[in-house]
Amino acid sequence: MINEYLAVLIFFVVALGFTIGGLVTAFLVRNSKPGYEKETTYECGEEPVGGAWIQFNMRYYFFAILFVIFDVEVIFLFPWAVVYKELLSNFGIFAFLEMALFLGILILGLVYAWKKGHLKWE
């Protein structure tokens, strides 16, 4: 058992050495000229606006909640998908309909939020 993990340990040490080695080498070789442009946050080349510690718009909250609901629903889809073939041979098409019903209920919730105007950005 120890031997099995030895490979992982060696891998870990090599990975660590490679990272630190790279950084140290770069630090030794490069010349240092810090400036305003260089110190700003790098985010896909976009110019950053303001700090990160601002209050976000309340609107994000609704989207976050809706996202969480649909995100967590997937947790039920996974076990169902894993045994789907077995279910299909035992229960026939009902196995599919059951999940469709579950998703239908969730979609009804989405439609409700939509109709009530919570998805609009005002």
Binding site: I65, V68, I69, V72, E73, I75, P79
Partner: protein
């Protein structure tokens, strides 16, 4: 060997649970309390998964149960955050000691 491992897992879950209880009792920030409660839910999850691994449970209930707990914890948090947000608009604070309209 595996028995020792089992007890380690159970003790970890117990410690998590106690951390959660401590957090609920000492925190003054409603969001902090919510996070402590989440830790408690996860303690139960770890417990169940450990039982499922080391004992022989009927129909893998130890795996199925946590799935439902995770989902419900998410739903509960969604509702809870909405409520905390609603009260934040009123009293401009999420400190539970400031919620003193109702007592005795």
């Amino acid at each position: 060997m595996s028995n020792l491992y089992f007890y380690t897992v159970i003790i970890v879950s117990l410690v998590l649970f106690l951390i959660g209880v401590y957090g609920v009792l000492t925190r003054r920030n409603a969001i902090g309390i919510l996070m402590a409660i989440e830790i408690m839910f996860n303690a139960a999850n770890i417990n169940l998964v450990a039982f499922n691994k080391f004992m022989h449970l009927e129909a893998s209930i130890g795996i199925i149960f946590p799935i439902f707990i995770i989902t419900l914890a998410a739903a509960e948090t969604a509702v809870g955050l909405a409520l905390i947000l609603a009260i934040y608009r009123n009293i401009k604070s999420v400190n539970v000691e400031k919620m003193e309209l109702l007592k005795w």
